[in-house]
Subunit: 241 residues, 2 copies
């Protein structure tokens, strides 16, 4: 198997969402200086469109966006993406900070800010995330244990179920990005299939077979949830070890 994943490069990707070009520039310069890749967006709609094809590691979001409610965006990001979210805002009240953090932001930086501190805080977020992102061969989730070296699934009673390579690819993809939406396009891209083909039922079948092995209730799947028209989302608490 030589399917490397060139879509997951080494340098962490930081998305910057701010309507002021000056601030975008300041941030992206500081971050690139520090070795990160950056993506700049002036509008939430552009940002959301880009999210469908890229997966930033950290999102810097200005709350004072003209075209959308920033807090709602933060909340959705927190739920659907695995990225760390840092709010940048001119609103300095404690209540603003508290609500921002409660809605799922990982940090809250007040304008005016020092780029060096932003870089330090981005690093702090990545440090935590990277710990869990290191690849290993065993993952535990919701009573299950997946061994990717021996291709075996073990339930809580110790019962073993083998899984195939194709099933393992899908499972691994899910386990590496729990609780975040995985688009169908991205899945096909990473799983190396013929992308863009409209008649690719293979993906559905893989999911279906994986669901069977995980003993999902077809009417009410608990772990692998379908998002109609978008993709799938894996719900579950994953611990790699």
């Amino acid at each position: 198997m030589t399917s490397n994943t060139p879509s997951l490069p080494d340098q962490p990707l930081v998305a910057i969402l701010d309507d002021e070009a000056e601030i975008r520039l300041m941030l992206s310069e500081a971050l690139e200086e520090a070795g990160f890749r950056t993506q700049n967006f002036a509008r939430a709609t552009e940002f959301e469109a880009a999210l469908k094809s890229t997966t930033p590691d950290v999102c810097l979001v200005d709350l004072g966006l003209p075209d959308k409610d920033g807090l709602a965006l933060v909340h959705r990001l927190a739920l659907e993406s695995g990225a760390a979210i840092i709010i940048i805002s001119g609103r300095a009240q404690v209540q603003d900070r508290v609500t921002g953090l409660e809605l799922g932001a990982d940090d809250y930086i007040i304008k005016p800010f020092d780029p060096a501190e932003v870089v330090a805080r981005v690093r702090a977020r990545l440090r935590r995330n990277r710990n869990t992102a290191k690849s290993s061969n065993t993952a535990r989730f919701n009573g299950w244990t997946a061994h990717f070296d021996s291709y075996v699934l073990v339930d809580e009673t110790g019962n073993e179920t083998p899984f195939s390579h194709a099933e393992g690819e899908v499972l691994r993809l899910f386990l590496e990005s729990p609780r975040r939406l995985i688009s169908r396009a991205r899945m096909q891209e990473i799983l190396g299939g013929a992308a863009g083909e409209s008649f690719d039922r293979a993906m559905d079948v893989r999911i279906s077979r994986l669901r069977t092995k995980l003993r999902e209730d077809p009417k009410n799947p608990r772990l692998i949830k379908t998002i109609y028209g978008a993709g799938y989302i894996f719900l579950g608490e994953v611990r790699w070890e």
Copy 2:
């Protein structure tokens, strides 16, 4: 070998290390009010001794300790313990914050602080570290409970009604901004549709279907109220958890 069997996670434990009794009290009161367990330490030596027998989930560390170099302690904690580290310090210079974060702290709060913000930041750290599933994707409102992870609505008698992704988008939008007018334009933006001509009707239908699931009386909607010519307003006491 530590016994890693946190099958039923207790309340998270927060260690507070500060030489001022007043601040310790303020923090521990706020944190316990928020449902955390706390441990208070006035000196680094006591704190380190306690670390041999307990494993806090978050450490709040004041840098201005008399008996040790706080930064060195932070660094050691970051390397050796899995706990999240939040520095609390009176030193407000950017350089102080940067070095604190670079040494492994997850957050840096400047004195004087508001206890509510500290609680929010502690929660933010725990959310990430535990990869918790139950944080912030469940909302309670007026007898209903909406589970956005399993896409299920539960009424007060425990009766379950599944809802689709599109319905969930609308519902989440409402729950994120209760008691506030939500214009149709904004709704269309957030729900991602290119503002089509007859796309308005799709929105109506979504609302209608959602109302049905919420068992709204068409003549007297209690939760989703229509503002003729403007948009909708969601009336309800929402609590995210």
